[in-house]
């Protein structure tokens, strides 16, 4: 089982390397630090949310689709709050995390209490969160945000100058993504709640019998995706420096696709943070590559779709072959018995 998971990640890594080589051959600008910083920055929002998506997928394979709505609500609310009362960016992050955790835990409570598939409950809450946001915001776009978001976005670690004499550097947004990746990896690998998430995803009844508190485990995973959505919301506000009520919602299935591509199991109990990161990176590099190769971004979805279809076909054929060879061995053993 573990070997198979490692394989998925290995294949994605190979595809990413090949893709990077191809893109670099056609446009060497791909492998510059400036481009890679940009790439990491622009995918940090969905990258952060994807870690949360992974947690819920491990829990049972049924995806949470409401996380974009949570991020959307949090972004709008925090942008308005900071405009009204000021404050600082750390406070903004804390409020966002608290709001997100609250909405996420509401999902977790409903999912566990009513024992309904995650996807059904979260479609309902997606509509509630997003619908209410639109009712209260009347769809108004906030073009001017509090300057703290701009200041935060402009903080750079290290400062470099490219050949056109434009300064660039490593911003804090991708750094937050990297921290979240480490946090997710650590929780899943080294904490009891992380191991419990795998156990509940693998077999809920068995997990309950060995004394795992299933409710608390689920509540943790759903609160965690809410928390990360809240953090992603502030990162998003810092990047776009406006609050548009419909800009994040609608991407949920793309993020889920990337996490599945990264090896998360549809039956629950399987998936890793590294795989999720690679899945998102594959999307990011494809997107970036199209721009660098001057191919219209209209083709982005075609490539992503093709990669998904081809990769699931290959892994399905592999699985069928493995099963066939297993049956063959079984039959041969039986034949020997008879002799």
């Amino acid at each position: 089982m573990n070997k198979l998971l490692k394989q998925t990640e290995f294949y994605i890594a190979v595809v990413i390397i090949i893709l990077s080589i191809v893109i670099t051959i056609f446009n060497p600008r791909f492998l510059t630090a400036e481009n890679l910083f940009d790439l990491l920055k622009s995918f940090s929002v969905i990258g952060i949310m994807a870690v949360g998506v992974l947690f819920v997928l491990i829990l049972g394979g049924s995806p949470d689709v409401s996380f974009t709505a949570i991020a959307q609500v949090v972004e709008y609310v925090v942008v308005i709050m900071t405009l009204k009362w000021g404050g600082n960016i750390i406070l903004a992050f804390l409020i966002a995390a608290a709001l997100g955790t609250l909405m996420g835990s509401f999902n977790g409570f409903l999912v566990h209490y009513f024992r309904v598939p995650t996807v059904i409950i979260t479609i309902a809450t997606l509509n509630i969160y997003y619908g209410l946001l639109y009712v209260f915001s009347k769809g108004q776009v906030i073009f001017v945000v509090h300057p703290m978001f701009r200041d935060f976005a402009n903080i750079k670690i290290g400062s470099f100058i490219n050949q056109n004499n434009v300064a660039y550097g490593f911003t804090l947004m991708p750094l937050i993504w990297i921290l979240v990746l480490f946090l997710g990896w650590y929780i899943l690998k080294y904490t009891s709640v992380g191991r419990n998430i795998y156990a509940v995803g693998g077999n809920e009844v068995a997990a309950e019998r060995v004394g795992i508190n299933v409710f608390r485990t689920k509540l943790f995973a759903f609160s965690f995706i809410g928390l990360l959505s809240g953090i992603a919301a502030i990162v998003h506000a810092a990047i776009v420096q406006s609050a548009i009520p419909n800009i994040i919602v609608g991407q949920e299935l793309n993020v889920i696709a990337a996490v599945f591509l990264g090896g998360a199991s549809v039956f629950g109990g399987g998936g890793s943070v590294i795989g999720t990161f690679l899945g998102i990176m594959l999307f990011a590099i494809m997107n970036n590559g199209l721009t660098l190769l001057k191919i219209s971004t209209y083709w982005f979805n075609v490539f992503v779709g093709a990669v998904i279809v081809i990769s699931i076909t290959i892994s399905a054929i592999q699985k069928i072959r493995q099963e066939k060879s297993r049956i063959k061995i079984h039959i041969e053993e039986k034949a020997e018995d008879r002799v």
Binding site: I120, A124, L132, V135, F260, F300, I312, I317
Partner: protein, 328 residues
């Protein structure tokens, strides 16, 4: 023991909502023009939900259904444009027919892809159709370059927009297809096989059901319903675009679930699903007539779903309690 009427709670909810809406808005809600407009809007979600239901019965899901509908519409529109020499509004009947056939073929092609992936390669439905959905969305955007294609012949628009005896034509199409689907699911070997696949896949396999071909056919049928959606949508909007009706995808899943279709497969009736689509439509029209925010409708849908889930949950709970008491 009294005989249970299936989905009784749904009928009760429907009646309550109709009564409440009529009381809240007596001058506009219980009128012929309102019922006509509901009959006009209802088929779109109904067809998508029917297509979704077919796959959910076998324990699967078809996330590519809206993308398939848009794909059908776009292929039809592009064929129409190519064959009519740049004047699609004046196209001849034969050209219209060929275009629609091309659209249906496109839908069936999409269905074949999902069907082979899930049926023959045993890829889980959610993954396979997520892939087809992304691929089709991409193809749709590339084909239209993100623009809207408008201008169709009158006869094509009539399918989605016309009136017959004062009743919208799409409503007639909806009735006919509801009848056909009920027959397929309840009276054919294919229908029985779908339910069996959903309730116990291994058992179905060992009772000599060709699971692979059933799944392939299930996706073909599902895509066919997407194609019908496309033709109605073309008439109602007089245009095609890569991302029309995207928000309906999740609503279609909800409508099925609300109507008693088990997401794990094996259970669900067409009548229940249709009632739940009607409920969603009544809420949406009723709230709309009250001049409330259309997004309030979305929030309402969400609340109603959770309410229904809660009611079902407590019903089940009390039923098991009664059983336990009576068995003692």
């Amino acid at each position: 023991m009294k005989k249970n009427i299936p989905n009784l709670s749904l009928y009760v909810i429907l009646i309550i909502i109709v009564v409440v809406m009529s009381i809240l808005n007596p001058s506009r809600f219980p009128t012929i023009s309102n019922f006509r407009s509901m009959a006009y809007q209802l088929p779109l979600l109904a067809f998508l939900s029917m297509g979704m239901m077919i796959t959910m019965l076998s324990g699967g899901i078809n996330l590519g259904i809206v993308a398939t509908a848009n794909f059908t519409g776009i292929i039809t529109a592009l064929t129409l444009r190519a064959l009519s020499g740049g004047n699609p509004t004046e196209a001849s009947a034969l050209v219209i027919l060929i275009s629609m056939v091309m659209g249906v073929i496109a839908a069936l092609g999409a269905g074949t892809l999902s069907g082979i992936l899930t049926g023959y390669l045993r890829v889980p439905d959610m993954l396979a159709t997520l892939g087809t959905m992304t691929l089709l969305n991409g193809v749709n955007i590339v084909l239209t370059k993100g623009y809207t294609i408008t201008g169709f012949p009158k006869s094509l628009i009539t399918i989605g927009n016309g009136l017959l005896f004062g009743i919208p034509i799409p409503f007639f199409i909806f009735l006919i297809f509801t009848f056909i689907l009920t027959i397929i699911l309840n009276k054919t070997v294919f229908g029985y096989s779908l339910y069996m696949l959903g309730s116990n896949f291994t058992a179905a396999k060992f009772s000599n059901i060709d699971t692979r071909s059933i799944i392939l056919r299930e996706f073909l049928l599902s895509s066919l319903f997407a194609a019908v959606t496309a033709f109605i949508m073309m008439g109602q909007l007089n245009s095609v675009k890569a991302n029309y009706a995207e928000s309906y995808l999740l609503v279609a899943i909800l409508a099925c679930f609300l109507g008693g279709v088990d997401p794990a497969g094996g259970f669900g009736k067409v009548s229940g699903m249709i009632v739940s689509v009607v409920i969603l439509q009544v809420i949406s029209s009723g709230v709309n007539l009250l001049r409330m925010d259309p997004f309030f409708i979305r929030a309402m849908w969400g609340f109603i779903i959770i309410a229904v889930i809660a009611i079902n949950y407590f019903n089940e709970k009390s039923k098991t309690r009664i059983k336990m008491v009576s068995s003692n």
